[in-house]
């Protein structure tokens, strides 16, 4: 008797499965509705606005104007052709260049330094827990606070960084790190690297801890040089974790807003795509134009992720 009740018959099992699937969709619906309201629909609206003449105060009666926010040309009475739109906008291309430059340099630095820190944390030494706790502090500090704090430390007259560098003999006169056009990008990259290094290091460390210890033992017995072990064994084994960490950091870096906006306000050398888009949306009363810029940034990141995942054969879903 008992064996029969424990194993439901086929139709019963199907019924059970169907019931579970119904429940599953019921449970998913509230979450999906919220995501549709905060993500899908606003994204659709932004794209729609980019094809209109919307302005901040006239959102409701925005008129469709096609691609004119992206590209337009008209001929003046004197016969000269004038081009306009985001795609012909020097300020926009400057922001694109700043964003790409910032993303490439900061993610490269964060990866290399993160790997170094992760290798240290993976070694067995006294006080490892303390170091791991300490490196989390920059990550815990809100971005706005880090921007202000570093703005203070990088101040030309009162900043401790100038004092430290002069004490060490690295520089001979005080530098306005955040305000000087030549240095503002360095300042932004440095602060971002400082802030996100913990995240990178911890993700890479998680990958390192998956590497079985006997691989190293075997290499050590065979007398393989540690540097060679790193390149031939460690790096290939942590590659999946590294690839995922890099794409996450890269996406974060390419949409950067707050650090740049607060640390180096008004610097055309550091203005990123997100910063310029927000300025047009809310400060310069060019809502439709800012929407077009936001749309381009979205497409840019979408293409980048797709290429990265396809070319790098990244398994973002982690084994599923």
């Amino acid at each position: 008797m008992s064996t029969i009740t424990e194993q439901p018959q086929a139709p019963e099992r199907n019924q059970l499965m169907a019931g579970r699937q119904r429940a599953a969709w019921l449970f998913l619906t509230p979450m999906l509705i919220v995501l549709a309201l905060v993500a899908a629909y606003p994204l659709f609206l932004t794209i729609w606005y980019s094809f209109t003449d919307a302005s901040l105060v006239h959102l409701k009666d925005a008129q469709w104007i096609g691609f004119k926010n992206y590209f337009r040309s008209f001929t003046t009475d004197s016969g000269k052709t004038v081009y306009g739109g985001v795609l012909m906008d020097k300020a926009w291309w400057g922001a694109v260049w700043n964003t790409v430059r910032f993303g490439a340099v900061s993610v490269f630095l964060e990866t290399v330094l993160g790997l170094a820190v992760a290798l240290v944390l993976n070694a067995n030494f006294k006080g490892r827990g303390l170091v791991r706790a300490a490196i989390l502090i920059p990550w815990a500090i809100p971005t706005v606070v880090s921007a202000k704090l570093w703005g203070w430390m990088l101040n030309d007259q009162l900043g401790i960084i100038n004092r430290l560098f002069m004490d060490l003999g690295l520089i001979h006169q005080k530098i306005a790190w955040a305000a000087d056009a030549d240095y503002s990008m360095i300042a932004v990259v440095a602060v971002d690297t400082w802030k996100t290094l913990p995240f990178m290091a911890l993700l890479i460390l998680a990958g390192l801890q998956q590497v079985p210890g006997d691989v190293y033992e075997a290499a050590s017995i065979d007398g393989v040089h540690p540097v060679k072990v790193f390149w031939k064994v460690t790096l290939p084994l942590i590659r999946p974790a590294l690839m995922v960490a890099v794409i996450f950091r890269l996406l974060d870096a390419l949409r950067i807003f707050d650090l740049v906006y607060i640390l180096t306000p008004n610097s055309s050398q550091t203005k990123t795509m997100s910063v310029i888009a927000r300025e047009n949306l809310f400060d310069f009363d060019k809502f439709a134009y800012g929407s077009a810029e936001s749309t381009i940034l979205f497409l840019f990141l979408l293409i980048l992720v797709t290429l990265y995942v396809k070319l790098g054969r990244v398994n973002l879903a982690g084994g599923n």
């Binding site: 809100p142 606070v145 906006y261």
Partner: protein, 279 residues
């Protein structure tokens, strides 16, 4: 095999450098916040004076908006976390334990939302928030923060639930338990560690958010959160930036986070890696 002494020394020097670069800026914010008047203009590595003037002024001076900002941040972040966790627990159950068509696609879509550039939805969200009538209120933030807290909590809880033993659930199904009973009676008691970790991480990201807060509440003094409050502190005087006040405010905003992070260190690391490596 004995390691050469200079290699050990170099290793510990690097360790020391890692610690100093991580800790020093926050330490410097603290010693600055205790300086006032002329002491602010002397650059020192060690604390020289101890005055609570900046704290007093930032908390109780002026029109007292900073306390209001603190309260707003606490309220917004807490409600955001509660709502996100509530929506995410049932969703994560469906995504991790029930096989249905389109599950993989759904998971990838949720992951894609967490990769969104915030500015891409900013224009659309502005319109949605205005037509909902919640512009310049705390609800605009609680609502918009779902875009990053919800995908994150769903992902981490899904990974966590996937690893729970299947036998528990099978036994419950045989006993005739409904999915709702399975979630509340069987999984919830096992999920507290995961809920605390994801909740904490979601809390931190909501507490730190700046772009939405600046856009949706900046013009209403009473609805601002602390990041916006601190960012605007500098604007109060044109010629002189009140560094002492800014550092005091920064320390107040950061101390609770640093304490939480140090207490939950291990859990946070596992939560970050679950949310990062797997999505």
């Amino acid at each position: 095999m004995k390691t050469a002494w200079y290699k050990t020394a170099a290793f510990y020097a690097f360790v020391a450098f890692i610690i100093v670069q991580a800790v020093f800026p926050f330490y410097y914010a603290i010693i600055t916040s205790f300086k006032s008047g002329a002491a602010l203009f002397e650059i020192t590595y060690l604390p020289t004076s101890f005055s609570l003037e900046n704290y007093q002024q930032v908390l109780f001076g002026g029109n007292g908006t900073f306390l209001q900002n603190l309260w707003n941040s606490l309220w917004v972040a807490s409600i955001t976390v509660i709502l996100a966790l509530f929506l995410a627990v049932t969703a994560a159950y469906s995504l991790s334990r029930v096989k249905f068509k389109g599950r993989g696609l759904l998971l990838m879509t949720i992951l894609a939302v967490s990769m969104f550039p915030q500015v891409a939805v900013l224009a659309g969200l502005f319109q949605v928030i205005q037509s909902m009538g919640i512009y310049n209120t705390d609800w605009s933030l609680i609502f918009s923060y779902m875009i990053f807290t919800l995908p994150f909590t769903v992902w981490v809880l899904t990974t966590f639930m996937r690893d729970l033993p299947i036998e528990l659930e099978e036994a419950a199904i045989v006993d005739g338990a409904s999915p709702w009973v399975i979630i509340t009676k069987i999984f919830m008691p096992l999920m507290w560690p995961a809920l605390v970790t994801t909740g904490l991480l979601a809390f931190i990201s909501a507490w730190n958010e700046y772009l939405f807060a600046l856009t949706f509440t900046a013009s209403n003094n009473a609805a601002r959160t602390v990041p916006v409050g601190i960012a605007l502190l500098s604007g109060s005087t044109d010629h002189e930036i009140p560094w002492g006040l800014i550092m005091a405010a920064s320390v107040i905003v950061t101390i609770p986070l640093v304490v939480l992070v140090l207490i939950f260190q291990r859990k946070i690391v596992s939560g970050l890696t679950a949310g990062g490596v797997k999505g």
